[in-house]
């Protein structure tokens, strides 16, 4: 019953990232004794998700945004747009929530070993890709070239900009940023241009036979990105996309998250494009 029953947890910090997006840190109330394994929900892979409960309001699937930490802290980056996430705008440290998870399969890190990795994030898609990015940087020696392309509507909507600019100073990773809105002031934001996300691919030289791409963004951006990656020679199997659906149970039962005959909650939410190709409603 573990996967069906939320574990009590407490919000430990709240950091407004933009006017409508907040980074929460949470910890399970029943921390395992020192040295014991982490609570199940705090032990996860980048790309997996959890179900966050707000008592009296409801439950919502949220991607992990950080990486597992030794003290069991879980980071979630949440945009306040829905029935559950709007009331979360008022949440403060100390507030009680419920957590279930982890669910889904996450990014296939095993197949990324010794490969060049191209991470492409659009908007809030940066949240799960930040989890992947942090995991990749922890074991930097395992992978080849690391590149992040990240686009948002406007400069103020670029999430984790401070972190990204800090990372970009090292030789571990190359970061290219874009904002949709022309005429935006880009002063103080290096590596950023006013362009749509797919245009950033023009700046990238990739070796298709040794590169994997990991994508997360609004559905509208997937088709042009995949098209462009294909043109650059990247095979469908090497393109991984994280899909958004309304997973209500996380256990393959409620029936809300099917993509073709896959279920987003148990077969995804990360799929390689070869799986999704031709499936109606998969990308848009």
């Amino acid at each position: 019953m573990k996967a069906g029953l939320p574990t009590s947890a407490t919000i430990t910090s709240v950091r407004k990232l933009t006017s409508d997006t907040t980074l929460f840190a949470l910890r399970c109330d029943d921390p395992a004794a020192a040295g014991a394994p982490l609570p199940a929900v705090a032990s996860f892979l980048p790309g997996q998700f959890l179900e966050l409960s707000l008592p009296g309001i409801g439950e919502v699937p949220i991607s992990y945004c950080g990486i597992p930490s030794s003290d069991g802290t879980i980071e979630l980056c949440i945009r306040h747009v829905g029935h559950v996430t709007i009331p979360l705008q008022n949440a403060k440290p100390g507030d009680a929530v419920g957590l279930r998870g982890p669910f889904g399969l996450g990014f296939p890190l095993k197949s990324y070993e010794n490969q060049d990795l191209l991470l492409i994030a659009g908007g809030l898609g940066m949240a799960p890709l930040r989890s992947l990015l942090l995991a990749l940087l922890v074991e930097r020696g395992q992978w080849g070239e690391l590149t992040l392309l990240y686009g948002a509507r406007e400069p103020g909507a670029l999430l984790f900009l401070d972190e990204l600019l800090y990372m970009s100073q090292s030789s571990d990773i190359r970061i290219y940023l874009a904002v949709d809105r022309r005429g935006s002031c880009l002063e103080g934001i290096p590596h950023c241009r006013a362009a749509l996300l797919p245009a950033l691919l023009d700046q990238v030289m990739l070796q298709p036979e040794r590169t994997h791409a990991a994508l997360c963004g609004p559905p509208i951006v997937y088709t042009p990105l995949v098209e462009r990656l294909n043109q650059l020679g990247l095979a469908d199997e090497r393109i991984h996309l994280s899909l958004e659906r309304r997973m209500k149970c996380g256990q393959g039962r409620c029936g809300h998250c099917a993509v073709g005959t896959y279920l987003c909650c148990t077969d995804g939410p990360v799929f390689n494009y070869a799986m999704l190709k031709g499936i109606e409603g998969a990308l848009v």
Binding site: I57, G58, H83, Q89
Partner: protein
């Protein structure tokens, strides 16, 4: 816990929706612990508007200038404005004759020699004038919906409008389908659920009191009504009783 500061009022209406809340007698004592009814002329005096409310719950449609003033005033003062009941949501029965000439209607009701100027206009749902943050439909809404609205608002959440039809709840209760089995002019397939299919469960065809479902397939429903021997006029008239926006 900080109590929810609420304003409740009725515009052109029968006050039945406010009464439905007052009828929650068993729950009212507990509700008062959570909700501070700051402005509720029907239930408590004095009733003077204050500078701000967490939420305004408004029953009824708009048909008079002073109502419009009150509505705009509540909108300005409230974080959330909720349309409560079918009249507030769709116009309701007061808007039944909206397709007819106002002057003729006046003469029919008050006679030709009446010189009294009537300060009214064709009744409108609230969203014709102000932004409505949430809707709880029904004539009146169910008690659970009203309580759920308030306990939700207390936590900063707005109710999501039920989008499935009365038929779904009717079938869940395993009642006889009056449309297919009794050839009744039942508006169940076109009408928003949430009422628990109260009428069909008692053998009374759905009157459509909660307003239209999204994506209502009016053309096909009309086809079925015609097959059952009803005239299009009759079906349309029934549809428009609670929601004048229906056109077939």
């Amino acid at each position: 816990m900080k109590r929810l500061r609420v304003a409740i009022t009725g515009l052109t209406s029968c006050s039945g929706c406010q009464l439905a809340l007052l009828n929650c007698e068993a729950e009212l004592p507990q509700l008062l612990e959570l909700v501070d009814f700051r402005f509720f002329p029907m239930a408590c005096s004095p009733a003077t508007l204050e500078s701000d409310y967490d939420a305004a719950l408004v029953e009824g449609c708009l048909s008079m200038p002073h109502e419009q003033e009150l509505l705009l005033s509540l909108r300005k003062r409230s974080r959330y404005l909720v349309a409560v009941g079918t009249c507030a949501a769709w116009g309701g029965v007061a808007a039944l004759k909206n397709d007819q000439d106002r002057e003729q209607l006046r003469q029919q009701v008050y006679g030709t020699d009446s010189t009294a100027a009537l300060e009214t206009f064709s009744p409108l749902p609230l969203n014709a004038v102000v932004q409505v943050d949430a809707t709880v439909t029904g004539c009146p809404p169910e008690k659970e919906e009203l309580i759920g609205l308030l306990t939700g608002l207390l936590k900063g959440s707005l109710p999501t409008l039920i989008s499935y039809p009365v038929c779904t709840e009717c079938r869940m209760k395993e009642t006889l389908c009056l449309l297919t089995e009794r050839s009744a002019l039942c508006l169940g397939p076109l009408t928003l659920g949430g009422c628990g299919a109260l009428c069909p469960a008692l053998g009374v065809p759905c009157e459509g009191c909660r307003g239209p479902v999204p994506e209502a397939n009016l053309a096909e429903a009309m086809e079925i009504y015609l097959q059952k021997g009803y005239a299009q006029e009759a079906a349309c008239e029934r549809l428009r009783r609670f929601c004048p926006g229906w056109r077939a």
